[in-house]
């Protein structure tokens, strides 16, 4: 990180990431934006406790996650799941029409247990290391690894992928290889 952007600018720069993570947690635009707003307000008043030189994004994600779970725990599990699935359909953006594959994937992701989905997204999409993800979730690194692994197994089941041959020719293999370096390295 170079220079010292004002807290406002620093937070503004993280907004897309905050919203994406909030969407991943809530599966619903309105609830996601409420969660972002609450997170921003908490972050603002706690900004003095942010250690410069560490990851602002990780710090904000931790706040968001804690905020989310403190309200989310009150809800019953079945309600979450049904909501999550319904919400998954709402996430569809116009840009994705014609990407049947991706629509299936989105629905499958929404049916994952929350802790698995969260771990998968932190490590596989948000670019955090396993160590950072563990810190954000307040659990052991091994727990994150095992959640990510179970998330992938579950996705395979839902998407009925039994072998790599089921995938067909994949035009995005370069990106996929790249990604594999990130998420594929679980021993």
């Amino acid at each position: 990180m170079t220079g010292h952007p004002s807290p406002k600018d620093a937070l503004l720069a993280e907004l897309p990431s905050l919203r994406a993570f909030a969407m991943s947690l809530t599966g619903n635009h309105d609830r996601a934006d409420d969660l972002v707003q609450e997170t921003l307000m908490k972050a603002w008043s706690a900004f003095a406790s942010f250690t410069e030189g560490t990851s602002l994004r990780a710090w904000l994600f931790t706040i968001m996650r804690n905020t989310f779970f403190s309200t989310h725990r009150k809800r019953r599990r079945e309600v979450q799941d049904v909501e999550g699935m319904a919400a998954a359909r709402m996430i569809t953006s116009p840009a994705q029409h014609g990407h049947l594959d991706l629509a299936d994937f989105r629905e499958a992701l929404a049916t994952l247990a929350l802790d698995q989905r969260e771990a998968l997204i932190l490590v596989g999409a948000s670019g955090f290391s396993y160590e950072e993800a563990a810190e954000i979730c307040g659990c052991a690194v091994g727990t994150i690894k095992s959640r990510v692994n179970r998330a992938r197994q579950r996705l395979m089941q839902i998407l009925a992928i039994e072998s790599a041959e089921d995938l067909g020719p994949d035009p995005t293999s370069a990106a996929a290889r790249d990604f594999n370096d990130t998420i594929g390295g679980i021993p």
Binding site: K8, L12, V36, I121, G124, A125, T143, T172, F179, I183
Partner: protein, 86 residues
């Protein structure tokens, strides 16, 4: 082929006790999860990143900029300590 009305073919399914679901490991050190084919991992990872990139690309509503403007005016930010005091 003999069909029993309302019944199931008798020999085609193993006794239910055979069907043990794999234990949901709570032990992070448990090495038992089977490794995924790297190509499948890559495929899942690619899908996940595309989905996430979509979310990142969404325009940020003005309400958040407005909120931060207000916060800056009303409650000037407490600066983080320049050096860790520890």
């Amino acid at each position: 082929m003999v069909r029993v009305p309302g019944g199931r073919p008798i020999e085609s399914r193993p006794p239910p006790t055979e069907w043990k679901s794999p234990p949901m490991s709570q032990d992070p050190a448990d090495p038992k999860s089977p490794a995924l084919d790297p190509r499948i991992q890559a495929h899942l990872g690619d899908q996940l990143r595309r989905l996430y990139a979509d979310m990142l690309a969404e325009p940020v509503p003005d309400r958040f900029k407005t909120l931060l403007d207000q916060l800056e005016r009303v409650e000037p930010p407490a600066a983080p300590p320049k050096e860790g005091p520890r």
